[in-house]
């Protein structure tokens, strides 16, 4: 084989893998891990059942690849917001607006949150627990933002770690609500901001 063909193959392989993961994200988010059949993912991706196993060793591996990405992306978004040249309370506002908008739109943002929720409420296992140990970047970054906001007199008194947890709890709950109730209307993000602002 020439290098050219090898490269092309590698590219196809990557594309297929992403194609499967995109389908899997949606299906896992909407049904959870146990209720999802590998055949459902294959159908959503428009591929054969067997091919999925050419790219992933197991249904579990596929799922945790998504959980892993979800945790990583959520951490990165917060780090990015934190890097913006705006005031702390404005960072909180941007985060609330961005995430809630994404959930309401029912796209990837929403799916990633739901996958994390499904993973969280799954029966505990070594595999599962591993992913929630490195999952504190988003919460920790928000805590840091809130602490800074307190120093600048923009954020109310109280434990910033607890506030951060409450912030993300509310967002997770909204993701659940949004998928539970058809026709759910997202509340004003400003409510979340007011929870922590002075």
């Amino acid at each position: 084989m020439s290098p050219r063909t090898g490269e092309q193959n590698a590219q196809i392989k990557d594309e297929r893998r992403e194609q499967i993961l995109t389908a899997a994200l949606k299906v896992f988010a909407l049904r959870g891990f146990a209720a999802t059949r590998v055949g459902d993912v294959a159908a959503e991706a428009g591929l054969s059942h067997g091919l999925v196993y050419h790219y992933f060793a197991s249904k579990e591996e596929m799922f945790y690849e998504l959980v892993s990405r979800a945790v990583y992306y959520s951490g990165q978004s917060l780090v990015m917001v934190d890097g913006m040249p705006i005031e702390p309370i404005e960072k909180v506002r941007q985060t609330a607006k961005y995430i809630m908008g994404g959930i309401e739109a029912g796209q990837e943002t929403s799916y990633y949150f739901l996958v994390v929720i499904h993973a969280g409420v799954m029966e505990s296992s070594p595999e599962r627990d591993k992913f929630f140990q490195g999952s504190t970047v988003a919460v920790d970054t928000m805590e840091k933002i809130l602490r800074e906001g307190q120093r600048m007199g923009q954020v109310r008194e109280g434990n910033p770690a607890e506030m951060s947890v409450m912030f993300f709890s509310a967002i997770m709950g909204l993701a659940v609500y949004n998928i539970t109730m058809p026709g759910f209307r997202m509340p004003d993000p400003e409510l979340l901001v007011s929870m922590v602002s002075k």
Copy 2:
């Protein structure tokens, strides 16, 4: 058979049924519907696998009996709180303290919330959707409390329906957090109160 024996049998039947439901509540809450095996419930209840089917037609029926109770109980708690001779903002405070305390203790309160969450994130079905149509009592009652609080100048301006949804979203998220993270420490309920108070 004498009437006496009939009554005794009926009582045993009721007790067994409750015994099974108590076990099922815990197992469903911790694993979700699809991942729960009927054998798991039987084992938790200390009964044989087959006996469960003497009391319930299917795994689904068992699950939705629990969802139904969860929805009913949560509605009733709110109605009860609303009936107390205290100020609106104090009703909000009592609700937050009571529910968050129950979740932290990891007992029935927590399990009922988790069952509702599992039901909510399950794939949509006619069976499932039925239960979420009559499930608005708690949210509606909280909305009413908040509206009254606004009239009395205790609750901040804004859409009380949205505030109520946000309130319960945060609580659902906390239930998820609590089961996701081992050693999770519940935030101060006062944070939730401050979200809606003036």
